[in-house]
């Protein structure tokens, strides 16, 4: 029982990371109707930026964090201009192929620059954690959960209660009409990409001390975050969060009680089960109904 509680805590921590990356997916999907297959690479690149600044250059942790976020904002901009913007008038298939190309590029360019050796990033806090009853609460996991809660709350407020949030929504629903009203559409899309690069980057920086920082971490996180969005119901913010948490918990228990090498397979299994039995996800509408 104690072990189960401990695993539950770890699972929620990992799940919170999936939820953050899933939020990035949902955001870009709602703005551009396209799934950004390089969303996971945003996390990977941010983690490597942290390793470069905090470990290699031995800069203070907070400064490294700011530099990494700056780098992510820049990456979000370049990504929009290079990968999405030239294709904005085409159907979704060319755009997703383009984001897949970008994902391959980011992963392998990082590999070419940094080599295949996985890196270690220390956690944010000196204190490793606290013992509460039978459960040991790792400080990094606590941080992940806290930041996720804050970001989710921020995102809700931003989209539902600010004028710029409404403009972003309008842009995602009908770009041409938005431009006729004087909404600067190109800037709105740019903001969306920067924001989702930042949110993906934060997820990567948070999870880096828990996992190894490796080239593969991006695609592995992205696959699970995507599975999370399907489990929750595609395009639904609350669904992405619940789906991410559920997946983190399933995976942690699966690895502990079933098999470690096939840990990454559980997400796929859950995904397929959902696709067969409940493709609309937990919160989603029936996809087929939208004729």
């Amino acid at each position: 029982m104690d072990i189960a509680l401990q695993l539950l805590f770890t699972g929620i921590g990992i799940g919170a990371v999936y939820a953050l990356v899933a939020l990035g997916f949902v955001l870009i999907f709602r703005a551009t109707n396209v799934v950004n297959f390089a969303q996971g690479e945003f996390s990977m690149v941010a983690a490597f930026l942290m390793v470069v600044c905090a470990v290699d250059l031995e800069l203070p942790y907070w400064l490294s964090f700011l530099i990494a976020l700056g780098g992510m904002a820049l990456l979000g901009m370049i990504f929009n201009l290079g990968v999405y913007y030239p294709l904005r008038h085409r159907s979704f298939l060319p755009v997703i192929i383009s984001t897949i190309g970008a994902s391959i590029f980011l992963a392998n360019a990082t590999l070419a620059l940094y080599g295949p050796q996985p890196q270690v990033l220390p956690g944010w806090f000196e204190t490793p954690g606290i013992q509460v009853g039978p459960v040991y609460l790792d400080s990094q996991y606590l941080l992940i959960i806290a930041v996720t809660i804050v970001l989710v709350a921020f995102q809700y407020w931003f989209f539902e209660h600010t004028l710029i949030g409404k403009k972003l929504q309008a842009t995602s629903q009908d770009k041409e009409m938005a431009s006729l009203l004087g909404i600067p559409v190109a800037r709105m899309i740019m903001i969306t990409f920067i924001y989702s690069a930042l949110i993906g980057g934060i997820a990567g920086i948070l999870v880096a001390p828990v996992l190894f920082v490796s080239i593969q971490m991006g695609s592995s996180i992205a696959l699970k975050a995507f599975a999370a969005t399907i489990i929750g119901g595609f395009g639904d913010v609350a669904g992405a969060i619940i789906g991410g948490l559920a997946l983190g918990i399933i995976e942690t228990f699966g690895a502990a009680y079933i098999s470690v090498p096939y840990k990454d397979g559980f997400a796929f299994l859950v995904l397929v089960l959902f696709l067969i039995f409940r493709p609309q996800g937990i919160f989603g509408e029936r996809v087929a109904e939208k004729a």
Partner: protein
């Protein structure tokens, strides 16, 4: 006084030329109706004015200044508001939010714009009960009201209305045209594109007929409508349209 002047406008979609050398004027304070069959280039002309498509040649002057090839955002900031064909209400936003966003060409916080949006319901009492309903739940007629209200929020000097009667029941069409008359009475210039010649001319001070991307003729509504030959050749005959 001429508010909008179009001079020798040519617009192409890829290889196809949709407007070939169109010249026309819109005087301030008037309702001007563009008539013509499908593919005559009416909507394309509006799209060129509002900056959705750049003209291949010619010029568009608004208040004496060229706006040809300006971006849509720049054009609406200068005071031209375009209510496009098909209404294009944002499906996932509420009626009030849709209307508020009509003021995106000017500065102002959510509070100010929200109050202005509420005032807009004075002119459109029919949609007031649906203030918080999402755009996609509205009927076509309600969406048309929201679209026009949203267009007016920009406080335009010139309102471009593209086929406001399209796909609407006759009873709703009559309501929409009453609103157009009211807009004119309040001093906004309107450039109206219509297929429904009789309704289009009923509110107009002046009418132009486009044919295959060229100006076929122009005149006062009673000159156009009163001339049997013109009616038969361009406006689809008296009997056909008169029933609506």
């Amino acid at each position: 006084m001429t508010l909008l002047a179009i001079k020798d406008l040519i617009v192409r979609y890829g290889e196809i030329e949709a407007v070939h050398g169109l010249t026309l004027d819109v005087d301030e304070g008037q309702v001007v109706t563009l008539l013509g069959s499908n593919g005559a280039g009416k909507s394309t002309t509006l799209r060129a004015i509002s900056g959705l498509i750049a003209p291949a040649a010619g010029d568009i002057l608004f208040d004496g200044k060229s706006i040809a090839a300006h971006s849509p955002e720049a054009v609406v900031r200068m005071g031209i508001s375009h209510v496009p064909e098909g209404r294009r209400v944002f499906p996932g936003l509420s009626v009030r939010e849709n209307i508020m966003l009509g003021a995106s060409n000017r500065s102002g916080g959510a509070g100010v714009l929200g109050r202005e949006a509420d005032e807009m319901f004075e002119l459109f009492p029919d949609i007031r009960p649906f203030r918080d309903a999402l755009g996609w739940t509205l009927s076509g007629g309600q969406q048309q009201m929201v679209a026009v209200a949203r267009g007016l929020m920009a406080k335009p000097r010139l309102l471009l209305l593209d086929e406001p009667s399209l796909g609407l029941a006759p009873v709703i069409v009559q309501a929409v045209f009453r609103i157009i008359s009211e807009i004119r009475r309040r001093g906004t210039t309107v450039l109206l594109v219509e297929q429904n010649a009789r309704m289009g001319l009923s509110v107009a001070d002046y009418g132009y007929v486009l044919e295959s991307g060229r100006l076929a003729l122009g005149g006062k509504p009673d000159e156009l409508w009163g001339n049997e030959a013109i009616r038969a050749a361009y406006l689809g005959g008296g009997q056909a349209a008169a029933r609506v």
